[in-house]
């Protein structure tokens, strides 16, 4: 019994990391129709910022962890807003150029990170609690997984509250439907774009800091690796739907863990999780192309 519980919870933990990256992707595409291939870089920036703070600042391990988390969120927000203002804004409605520039930015910043910090993973000094386990239904669950799940749940609740109860949230929801009409009501929709980008950067950077604890290290390639699954999550969940992304992230993460484990044990095929996720994507695209929570085009 303990193995399925362990696989389920660690799958949710992995899904939590996917969700933290997918939330920003979904909003930026839903509102701005921008496919940001550099979004994974915000996760990498968050991870390296957290690592730099955690390894250079004094104090107790929780103080360092808190400062690392806060610093990474701030840097993630600033980096994302800077990318939107300098590179994305001049290229609205020019989708091919957007893809080229965001792919280029992702490659350049990953290379820059490798140049500055080396290509090999570096160990991340998490608080001791993160490396210990909590026993749930007989399974030893690493606390870093529980922390990722809790953080993703908090981000989901915060984003849902922001979208539902604030004026800017209403503007974003309206913009996802019809941004031209939002402008025609006298609202500067560009400011909403920057805000959404910054929020996406915050969530991704949080994902980076938590992924460092989850994997026990930081890696220049991690943003790109997680981004692929975050894109799949966004498509399965439905573009522009945060709740859809959350459900899809959980399904993808859990499915990946189960497939990796059982295909590995039975047939020695331990990379079956990726294949299972791609198969799920194909099925969703065939059966419900708008995704779980997306709206079918009229």
């Amino acid at each position: 019994m303990s193995t399925p519980v362990l696989l389920f919870v660690t799958g949710l933990g992995l899904g939590a990391l996917y969700f933290l990256l997918a939330a920003g992707l979904s909003l930026t595409y839903g509102l701005m129709r921008v496919l940001n291939f550099a979004h994974g870089v915000f996760l990498t920036i968050g991870a390296y910022t957290a690592w730099m703070i955690a390894t250079h600042v004094g104090g107790s391990e929780w103080v360092r962890f808190g400062l690392a988390l806060g610093g990474s969120l701030l840097v993630g927000a600033v980096a994302a807003a800077a990318v939107e203002l300098s590179l994305i804004r001049p290229l609205y409605r020019r989708h091919v150029e957007q893809i080229l520039i965001t792919v280029g930015l992702a490659l350049a910043l990953t290379a820059l990170t490798q140049g500055a910090f080396g290509a090999d993973p570096r160990p991340y000094p998490s608080p001791g609690w993160m490396d210990r386990v909590t026993v749930l239904a007989g399974a030893d669950i690493p606390n870093s997984r529980l922390a990722a799940i809790a953080a993703a749940a908090l981000v989901l609740a915060a984003l849902a509250g922001f979208l539902r109860f604030t004026r800017w949230g209403t503007i974003v929801r309206a913009g996802v439907e019809n941004r031209e009409m939002v402008s025609a009501l006298g609202i500067d929709v560009q400011r909403a774009f920057t805000l959404v980008f910054a929020l996406g950067g915050v969530a991704a950077a949080l994902g980076g800091a938590l992924a460092a604890s989850y994997f026990g290290n930081i890696d220049p390639q991690r943003g790109g690796d997680v981004l692929i699954f975050a894109f799949i999550v966004v498509v399965i969940g439905g573009l522009g739907s945060i709740t859809g992304s959350a459900v899809a992230a959980a399904v993808v993460g859990v499915m990946q863990q189960f497939a990796n484990y059982y295909f590995g044990v039975w047939w020695g095929f331990s990379a079956a999780g990726d294949l299972a996720v791609v198969a799920l994507l194909a099925i969703v695209l065939l059966v419900r192309p708008q995704g779980l929570a997306g709206t079918a085009p009229a």
Partner: protein, 232 residues
């Protein structure tokens, strides 16, 4: 004629190879309704969208003497322009109340007026706008424009696609809403335009074919037949 509130001069719009507006010039006097008429595809909706900066355009547009030709849409609207688009374009996933809240610009939004004209909007405040009927959605679209004390309303085919009974209702409401306000009204239905407007501008293939009083237009049956496809 009094000083124009809105002055459109030499407006050109291209969509790819198509030259949709070819130097459109007209004035909208302050107070009262000006009807913008023409057959399908004459460029009426494009003219409204060009005034608002929703499509790339060339030419000069002034509002109350201020040149708004190069301004972004939201800045033009903040100068006191209310817009009721063709096909309503309410935010379907938002509630009626959220649709109205989004439109608020004035420190004291005119909910009293809006709820007096459209009591239904108070009753259905929590309902998703996408679930309303066409006529009810039109009321939301009109209310969004009326909730602020705008200097001019740009209203695009408010009766399009509505049942005949609802058309009468919407026209009555427009008549009340117009009051002393300035309105540029795009309308296919000459009878509706005749009921609401004092002046008329007729577009034909992206050019102005007529500008004058609505009576003068109606007194020229050949004009109505040729440019509107109706017998006045």
């Amino acid at each position: 004629m009094s000083t124009p509130l809105l002055d459109v001069a030499g407006l050109h719009v291209h969509f790819g190879q198509s030259h949709v507006l070819q130097g459109v010039s007209f004035e909208v006097p302050a107070g009262g309704v000006t009807a913008l008429l023409g057959r399908n595809g004459a460029g009426k909706t494009t003219t409204l969208r060009a005034i608002l900066g929703l499509v790339p355009r060339r030419g000069r547009v002034t509002l109350g003497g201020a040149d708004i030709s190069a301004e972004a849409t939201h800045r033009i609207v903040r100068r006191g322009v209310g817009y009721v688009p063709e096909d309503r374009e309410v935010f379907a996933e938002l509630t009626v109340a959220e649709n109205l809240r989004l439109a608020e610009r004035d420190p004291r939004p005119r909910y009293e007026l809006v709820h007096r004209l459209f009591p239904m909007l108070r009753e259905r405040a929590g309902q998703r706008a996408g679930t309303l009927s066409g006529g009810q959605q039109q009321m939301v679209a009109l209310a969004r424009a009326l909730i602020n004390d705008n200097r001019i309303l740009l209203v695009d085919e408010p009766t399009k696609g509505l049942a005949p009974k609802v058309v009468g209702e919407v026209v009555d409401l427009l008549q009340q809403a117009a009051g002393g306000a300035t309105m540029l009204l795009v309308e296919q239905n000459l009878a509706v335009a005749r009921r609401l407007a004092r002046t008329a501008v007729v577009l034909d293939q992206g050019r102005i074919a007529f500008a004058g009083t609505i009576e003068a237009l109606i007194e020229e049956p050949t004009l109505a037949r040729r440019y509107l496809g109706v017998h006045a």
